[in-house]
Amino acid sequence: MVNGATEESVLRLIPLLPLAAAAYHGVMLGLVRRPTPRTVTIAISCGAVLASFVASCVAFWSLIQHPNGSHLLVDNVFSWIGSGVGVHAFSADVAFLLDPLSSVMTLVITGVGSLIHIYSVAYMDDDQRDDKGFQRFFCYLNLFTFSMLILVLADNLVLMFLGWEGVGLCSFLLIGFWYSDEWNAYCGSKAFIVNRIGDFGFLLGLFLLFSSLVDVGKPAVEFQDIERNLALITEATLAVPEWLGGGEWLLVNVIALCFFVGAVGKSAQLPLYVWLPDAMAGPTPVSALIHAATMVTAGVYLVCRMGFLFAVAPFASMVVAWTGALTAVFAAVIAIAQTDIKKVLAYSTVSQLGYMFLAAGCGGYTAAVFHVASHAFFKALLFLGAGSVILALHHEQNLENMGGLWRRTPRTHVVFLIGVLTIAGFPGLSGFFSKDEILVAAFASEIPGHTWLYGIGLATSGLTAFYMFRLHFLTFYGESRASADIREHIDEPGKLIIYPLYVLAFFAIFFGYAGLPQVWGDLVFGVDNSNSLANFLMPTLAVVPHNQLDHTTEVWLAAAAITAGVVGFGFAWFFYMMRPQLPERIAAALRIPHQLLVRKFYVDEAYDLLFVRPLVAISDRVLFRVIDVAVIDGLAVGGIARLVRATGTNLLRHAQSGFAQTYIFFMIAGAVAIVWILLR
């Protein structure tokens, strides 16, 4: 059943350690009545994730040191689902694949995950006095880590789907962690259901891909096999039904679009982004881990992992790029007017994810992965910093009640500023390099309208700087707007909160040099092959033809990006530092546009009105009350019953009058009929 251990078996340890911890917590919570001591919970949970991080490092090391030069490690644990023989054969194994792409993801997940686990110990300690709740939180967190690791380590689409759904589930559980509040529970299930819509696309893509591979006699769901056999189906087309316009579509485009629907759901892109801002109802470490650093990047990971598919599906790639670009600017615009510190960060996440898709759609898969990693660091830093602020202010999240915090929480202020500078693209920090790569990729790509894409990206970068500095200024500078009794008790949180922030800040600053674009390597540092991340990832990521840019162009592009950032910063400085009264006046003057922004363009309300309400109403009024109760049960079934009863009461009852002579009549009529027939 379970395949024996080999030197590659370290791979299975990476996801299984968090699973073991989660299972332990689950059993203790569900079946054993005695509460587990808090220290044990912490030791097991954090220990498991740290051990998983160590295992990831070991695996990473052995991947680099791999003797035969191949860039993969595969650990096939056991055969999960096997069905069919011959050309229909389908088999999905629990098998883990470590290649450069998944190793980067694994390191980010376990690394950032460990830090957030440690942070959570303090964060949840302050928050939750109930030991069971504490343990439950870590149970979910471990389960999430497990699912996320499965997602990135899976060597086939089905196992990846396991992780894919698993992270959705954990997101549901963790958003609704404080379930006594109806709103949290609502947000949790909203996240799960919107994710499921994405999963629908994922499944469709999977089935479509598999069945087209069956058609060419090479059924497989493993990434490597798909990649190997993809050439067989790149020419295949799909007849589109008349009502969709007819004609023939390139099959790979359809498959890629289906997968992209999955990615859109998971990575909160237009039009399925609505769950992510609401997901901020969960505890802040959860927002940091799931809704900033890891889970939401799963969609980007999927597109990169299936890069070989998107590379041959130009139309799908274009859709990806445009969706990303539009989401980026759309979310950035909304972020400008938000007043909840976490909501601003949430929309910023949506926007940054849009960047990643922009890169992936333009064929800049390395840029996308680079940004995934650097975003994981700086966004986790920002979220955890925000959590620190929230703790300091005793669970106050509204920006309008903050201000002037830099005096009371100097350390948080410093790390937060680093995060803001990074995301705003301050030259030399990791965000600068990764965002620059994306913009370069957009500029250099050959897809139609790529200059527009670049333009949108650039504008978004300016917006990003604006709203992030707005956030920073409103939080840390100016006069404190907190209520008096809170103002008395503003304290910087303890070491367990701050130290993970330091670590993240370090990576936010210096991670960029792991993926230093060659232009900076040549110009500033004089290093050959400076982009070690890209070189490392290159063997596994698909290459899409693009225009070659010379160094001058690239420097100009960088200059443009810096300019955009400076302009954004300048506006923020002007509005929120120099003329703090101005924003309010503008808001008052432009009431309708401002309201539109504050209410997030009424997208939630529109969805509710367009999809949710009609669906419930139709199901209830039409399907249930009319079709089920009235038509099927009432008219058809009840009709037959009534017909039978009516025949009895109205017709046959008269034959059963009780009058003997009537009976005799029928008897004789029968006899006469028989005689008649016999004498005929």
């Binding site: 096997g82 389908f90 396991l162 698993g166 379930y179 509040d181 598999f210 399907l623 049960d633």
Partner: protein, 560 residues
């Protein structure tokens, strides 16, 4: 267990009934010698013990089952009414093995779960449950169509009483509705069985109800050529009479009602809502499988060409059932009714996979039968536990239950997730294979059905959220007690297959696989056998029914 070795299957089938009858006799004896019969607790414990013993023996069946062989195993064949070809003929392949396991697994669980739930007429209840178990097992192991029909009908009796005696306020209505619906369909099936039987007689000159032959020489119903069309009257074929089509329709109606497929489903919510927990669990867990099992075992192999003809209709009904069941489930106010409608949706998946008629679809379909039995059974058990405490099933009466009953909420969550097909739990594997099989055969229907996965999440999670989460608004819910030891035991027992089927489904898939391949092979062979180009051909066949044995050569070319 030495002496029962050759009768292992009969033992599994009849042991519950024997235990029940034995208890009755002892009770009669006891009351005859002047005591007040047997104590209720004795009835319950003996009932539980005998079902557990049955489960134990069926585990042995499972272990000893040779997964590498096709065909039926543990076969027993005894003459019963040999003149009419009625035999006692039992045997199992991978498909029925799983159904038997599901049955023997669920019944003891039900006993434990309703230990305190059933308070009136306990001896009667125990007897009916044991009787029901034998009825269900008998139908799953029967290879003689007459015998199958017998068991198929016989299990209505105990179920009717279980709903009618221990049910809710509208129990009589529900019981009668359940009975009439099922009876209505199965009478059509009876006619079709007899027509098939007579066709067999016409072709081979022997009366035979056996589905498959026990020896190489003798012929059974599956060797009969069921003409596609053309009943011959006075040498002229009757145009409207399409034999195979009508026969399949008759079988299909009986099974579709039992499944239940979309327009025939309205008995299910009523029966589920009114039935006691035990009844609901067995009804959802096993009885509904009788319909899907009937399709796999009888309707499809006997009438393969008609099955293909009907595929578009059945697929359409399945897809409609999936979407419709989900949407209607979404707006239910009663938890049990919600679960009942979700059954309609789930069984839509089962039918979809089955009529994909390929390995993935059928494997998934059979697996999904088990999955549905386990998940929905567990859901009904959980609803029953809540009902025992609060005596209401309305969603609006609850809210925030997770606070007073965290363990309950955890198990409810697990089962909910299994029901919406989360990977690593059982529901996923079945649904996934079904959809994959469906996609290989009929992509559009499967694509629409895939959307049912989204809807499943919508209605289940919405219900879960309204029941479990939020503040505890109703003061009566504040003092609810969490699960006791007995209830935990039940739920842990249910969790085992949920996890096992999700993590390592190959244990079961390996056993299903050969049977599914055999079934597909049979469909192929019998399609070739019955695909006759025109009605004249049937006339030829009818004229030459004694001359040549049409079943002897399965690869016989259709005549020009």
């Amino acid at each position: 267990m030495g002496p029962i070795e050759p009768f292992l299957l009969s033992f599994v089938t009849f042991f519950p009934l024997l235990a029940g009858v034995g208890l009755l006799l002892i009770a009669a004896l006891a009351s005859w010698i002047g005591t007040k019969g047997l104590p209720d607790s004795l009835w319950k414990s003996v009932g539980l013990a005998s079902t557990l013993a049955t489960f134990g023996v069926s585990v042995r069946l499972f272990v000893e089952f040779d997964a590498t062989r096709t065909g039926f195993q543990f076969v027993e064949h005894l003459s019963w009414i040999p003149e009419y070809g009625v035999n006692y003929f039992v045997g199992i392949d991978g498909i029925s093995l799983l159904m038997v396991m599901l049955t023997t697994f669920l019944v003891p669980i039900v006993f434990i779960a309703s230990w305190d739930d059933i308070r009136e007429s306990i001896p009667t209840f125990v007897f009916f449950m044991l009787f029901l178990e034998t009825g269900m097992l008998g139908a799953f192991v029967s290879l003689n169509v007459f015998q199958f029909y017998l068991f198929f009908e016989v299990m209505l009796i105990p179920m009717y009483f279980i709903i009618g005696i221990w049910g809710g306020p509208r129990r009589i209505y529900a019981a009668v509705k359940f009975f009439l619906f099922t009876m209505f369909g199965s009478l059509f099936m009876l006619v079709a069985v007899l027509v098939t039987y007579l066709l067999h007689f016409e072709q081979f000159g022997a009366l035979q109800f056996d589905l498959v032959s026990t020896t190489g020489e003798s012929k059974a119903l599956l060797d009969t050529v069921i003409p596609l069309s053309g009943q011959i009257v006075d040498g002229e074929p009757v145009v409207w009479w399409k034999t195979q089509t009508w026969l399949f329709a008759a079988f299909g109606l009986a099974f579709a009602i039992k499944v239940p497929m979309f327009p025939f489903h309205t008995w299910l919510p009523d029966a589920h809502v009114e039935a006691p927990t035990a009844g609901s669990v067995v009804l959802a867990g096993v009885l509904l499988k009788m319909g899907t099992y009937g399709f796999v075992r009888f309707a499809i192999p006997l009438f393969p060409v008609a099955a293909l003809e009907f595929t578009p209709i059945i697929l359409a009904l399945s897809v409609v059932g999936i979407l419709y069941g989900s949407l209607v489930a979404m707006v239910q106010t009663d938890i049990k009714r919600l679960v009942a409608y979700s059954s309609v949706a789930h069984l839509g998946f089962v039918m979809l996979g089955m009529f994909a008629l390929n390995e993935q679809g059928l494997n998934g379909s059979v697996l999904q039968m088990v999955n549905h039995g386990v998940s929905t059974g567990a859901l009904f058990l959980l609803v029953g536990m809540l009902y025992e405490r609060r005596h209401t099933r309305l969603i609006s009466d609850f809210g925030g239950i997770a606070k007073p009953m965290p363990v309950y909420a955890a198990f409810f969550g697990l089962v909910t997730l299994s029901s919406i097909g989360l990977p690593m739990l059982n529901g996923f594997v079945g649904e996934f294979l079904i959809l994959m099989g469906g996609f290989l055969a009929h992509p559009p229907s499967a694509a629409v059905a895939t959307f049912g996965v989204v809807l499943a999440a919508v209605y289940m999670l919405w219900m879960y959220r309204r029941v479990m989460f939020g503040p505890v608004t109703n003061p009566e819910n504040r003092s609810l007690i969490d699960l006791g030891l007995r209830e935990k035991l039940v739920m842990v027992a249910m969790a085992v297959p949920i996890l096992w089927l999700g993590i390592y489904p190959n244990t079961f898939l390996l056993r299903i696989q050969p049977s599914v391949i055999e079934l597909l092979h049979q469909v192929e062979v019998r399609t070739a056998l019955t695909t006759l180009p025109s009605t004249e051909d049937v006339a030829l066949l009818a004229a030459a029914d004694t001359a040549a044995d049409p079943a002897a050569d399965p690869n016989r070319e259709p005549q020009p």
